[in-house]
């Protein structure tokens, strides 16, 4: 219940931030709403001012904006000549597919590498640890360009535009690096705990100890990180979509920022916040499933 109220609070905050951004931007609000779209007649302009109530006090405008958002009405893109909700609805699936594929790849990589390298020979661990640091440091867009150059232009193995695999790999690199580090740290901490000695004293093998006892402990911080990474990756999709000429939320947002199409920018912000809130709720539930200490009481 408290969790739900917090989520609603976060969404309300995001709506407020978007509204403040609209009014903070230089220039007349009406021009920001119209955007860089040609052929808007003065009559249409007057109509917009009336529709949005731009002649009324700020507070009234704010309440009216909240009301519209609650009804699922995110405004109209005059640049694209369609409602914002439709523009986002068209772009979102492609970006979600890209984001979740990337997070999935990152999770699989991190799990495998962390389980195989935690507390193993220093050179092996060092090798992967260095690779992860490089992975976190490489700019996503540049790694995309490299992939494109090698696999599309040189080896002709993948399409230069539109495909899912290469962009997802490019997008997965940084999250994979972070997740592997957190998972391995968690696993190594867990493997140093006394209960691991107890487990081994029962005759369990190293691998069984890692999977049955260590991994669950390592998952706890990784789950939290994943929730945050989903939102982050959704945002980073913009650069990857640009590199791979892939339509999606990022392309839509970028076009809106350069074309001063504020309703679309605000809409994208709200949708990203919504996805984040859903993801973090799921993460919270998962956390409680993995950690019984949050579900059950200690003896009094």
């Amino acid at each position: 219940m408290k969790r739900l109220a917090l989520s609603a609070g976060v969404l309300w905050g995001a709506v407020t931030v978007a509204f403040i951004a609209l009014h903070l931007a230089p220039g007349k609000v009406v021009d920001l709403i119209i955007g860089n779209s040609p052929g808007v007649t003065p009559a249409v302009r007057q109509q917009i001012i009336k529709d949005y109530g731009l002649d009324r006090p700020l507070l009234v405008q704010y309440v009216s904006y909240l009301e519209h958002v609650l009804r699922g009405d995110l405004g109209h893109s005059y640049r694209l000549q369609i409602p914002v909700s439709r523009a986002i609805g068209d772009a979102l699936p492609a970006t979600l597919a890209l984001t979740f594929t990337a997070i999935g790849l990152a999770l699989i990589f991190a799990l495998v590498v962390a389980v195989l390298t935690a507390h193993r020979r220093p050179w092996l661990r060092g090798l992967f640890s260095t690779a992860e640091t490089i992975g976190v440091s490489i700019p996503t867009f540049w790694f995309g360009i490299l992939l494109l150059t090698v696999f599309s232009f040189t080896l002709h193995l993948a399409p230069a535009a539109g495909g899912l695999v290469l962009p997802a790999i490019a997008l997965a690199v940084a999250p994979a690096g972070m997740l592997t580090q957190v998972l391995r740290d968690g696993l190594e901490n867990a493997l140093d705990e006394p209960f691991i000695v107890t487990a081994r004293s029962r005759g369990l093998g190293d691998f069984a100890v890692r999977l049955r006892h260590g991994l669950r402990h390592a998952l706890l911080p990784a789950i939290t990180l994943t929730g945050w990474l989903i939102g982050l990756t959704l945002g980073s999709a913009v650069v990857v979509e640009q590199v791979f000429s892939r339509p999606g939320l990022g392309q839509l947002a970028l076009g809106a920022v350069t074309g001063k199409d504020m309703p679309v920018v605000m809409g994208v912000v709200l949708v990203v916040a919504l996805v984040y809130v859903i993801a973090s709720t799921v993460v919270d539930l998962l956390y409680r499933v993995v950690d019984p200490r949050l579900r059950t009481e200690a003896p009094s």
């Binding site: 000695v197 107890t198 004293s201 019984p292």
Partner: protein, 525 residues
């Protein structure tokens, strides 16, 4: 004489270039208990763990012979070890809260052994788990099997851990400090449980720093120091007639901390002259709630100049909360504290601040009470009203430390040195009252005795009063003039130290005293 179930001959263990164990030998027979006694870092744990092939990463182990059940396991590889662990030898570690996987039910932990060694058919595992829990003395085993370690009390957890160690009915049980984390009454129950296993024919290897615990169970004792057995022999002989100076010092330290020797027995303190002295600290009807629970419930006492008031109780009895109330770090819900006959607990912090030097504190863990960036010199200087290089040196000298430590940071000191620095800092503002909150609980026995002696000397020299808090009855008996026994936030009994220890009135006090492992009893029997 039966065949030993475990034998070690001429064992050497080293970590890199550091040698941890040098040439130790032991042998354990069925139904017998062999004890390894020593302080932290003596090598007793690694020695025991070689018997399950878990010496640890980076350890190189050399032995003339290591045998389990008559089979030489010296050249065993990891795979062969795995089939032995749990089946031939079970391991019980210190605190079940961390020695059982906190994310799994205790039932699953016990079942793991049964699965691994196919002790019973799959369908019978659940029944066997419940049987094992009740064997280990866990009430309502059906319910407990489905619970997580954090849902069980310390004693039940430890029983569950023992249940998992004996699940595959191993002839050898290794118990590494199995009662150290427990309250004294629970400690006695767990020792009884281990005695039951011994009576049932299990060979027991008991590792402990506490000679009194060992005395209760051991048939044969090895005293370990710096990686070698300095003395070995039948328990009676080692305890009764120790030969090696180190063993003697251990026995002396323990006997002085258990029944028999109280500091106030010494002639200079006889006569209870303290009752005529002025009152420096008075607590009346102190109450403090946390959530719905009364952590402290109507506690009153007085502390007179130059005397030591012992405050004894098990974990959760509210003794540390009393310390914080007395120090003015926590405000009581009701009741009040007076210092030197003047209001103290009711003051605003601004008014209390100038008088704070009158009451100081030392903790169980001095490390966390030191700013990690500061040197010993700065730490003590901070506590002085005016900067005075000579006074810093004088204080260090008083607590038996040299000025060569002035430039060290807290992490670069040993446990005993840290506590001495903490005492020097606490004495720097010349307080009238020193609150000692479990000041020796984290220290090795021989260091404990030194720190307690130091505190006694300082009291004689400076006339400072101690409010001395401890869970350890022996320590309380040793240092106190008068004693308060606390349980669940209340004072159960109060009185002169002789009266409390020789003629306790309250049932709880009697129970506490009966549970203390007694070296003398073991020797006499």
């Amino acid at each position: 004489m039966s065949i030993p179930i475990a034998e070690i001959e001429d064992l050497h263990i080293s970590f890199g270039s550091v040698s941890a164990v040098r040439g130790v030998s032991l042998s354990i027979e069925p139904g017998k208990c062999v004890a390894l006694v020593g302080e932290s870092g003596s090598g007793k744990s690694v020695t025991a763990r070689t018997l399950v092939g878990l010496t640890g990463a980076g350890a190189s182990v050399l032995a003339a012979r290591v045998a389990l059940g008559g089979t030489d396991v010296t050249r065993h590889g990891e795979r062969q070890w795995r089939s032995l662990r749990g089946r031939v030898a079970g391991l019980v570690l210190q605190d079940a809260l961390v020695s059982l996987d906190p994310l799994r039910t205790v039932g699953a932990e016990i079942a793991e052994v049964l699965h691994r060694h196919r002790v019973v058919p799959r369908a019978g595992i659940r029944d066997r788990v419940i049987e094992l829990l009740s064997l280990a003395g866990v009430p309502e085993p059906e319910v407990r099997a489905g619970q997580y370690p954090h849902q069980l009390s310390g004693g039940l957890r430890q029983r569950a851990l023992i249940a998992s160690a004996i699940a595959a009915d191993p002839p050898l049980l290794i118990a590494d400090e199995p009662t150290t984390a427990l309250d004294v009454t629970v400690q006695a129950q767990i020792l009884d449980l281990l005695a039951e296993r011994k009576a049932a024919g299990t060979g027991l290897l008991l590792i402990s720093h506490d000679l009194a615990v060992v005395a209760r169970l051991a048939d044969h004792i090895h005293v370990m120091k710096d990686g070698v057995f300095v003395e070995s022999g039948p328990a009676q002989e080692v305890l009764h007639d120790p030969q090696h100076p180190y063993t003697r010092s251990l026995v002396a330290a323990v006997t002085s901390l258990t029944r028999g020797v109280s500091r106030s027995d010494s002639p200079s303190r006889a006569g209870n002259a303290t009752t005529q002295r002025e009152v420096v600290l008075e607590a009346s009807e102190l109450t403090k709630r946390y959530g719905g629970r009364r952590a402290v419930d109507g506690v009153s006492f007085t502390l007179r100049a130059g005397e030591t008031l012992g405050l004894v109780g098990e974990s959760g009895s509210g003794k540390t909360t009393v310390a914080r109330l007395v120090l003015g770090l926590l405000a009581p819900d009701t009741g009040q504290v007076e210092l030197d006959g003047q209001a103290w607990s009711g003051l605003a912090e601004r008014d209390r601040r100038p008088r704070r030097q009158e009451i100081q504190v030392i903790h169980q863990d001095p490390l966390s009470s030191f700013d990690p960036r500061l040197t010993v010199r700065r730490l003590i200087e901070e506590a002085l009203p005016v900067r005075d290089e000579g006074r810093v040196a004088e204080l260090l000298d008083q607590v038996g430390l040299g000025v060569d430590l002035l430039g060290r940071r807290p992490r670069e000191l040993s446990g005993g040195q840290r506590q001495r620095v903490a005492i020097a800092r606490a004495l720097a503002p010349e307080p009238r009252v020193l609150v000692c909150d479990e000041p020796v609980s984290a220290l090795d026995v021989s260091i404990q005795a030194q720190v307690l002696d130091l505190l006694a000397d300082l009291q004689r020299e400076l006339g400072v009063s101690y409010l001395f808090i401890s869970h350890h009855l022996g320590v309380i008996h040793h240092v106190s003039d008068r004693v308060l026994v606390m349980k669940d936030g209340r004072v159960i009994e109060e009185g002169d130290v002789h009266q409390i220890f020789n003629a306790p009135q309250a049932a709880y006090t009697k129970e506490l005293l009966a549970a203390v492992p007694q070296l003398e009893d073991a020797i006499r029997s």
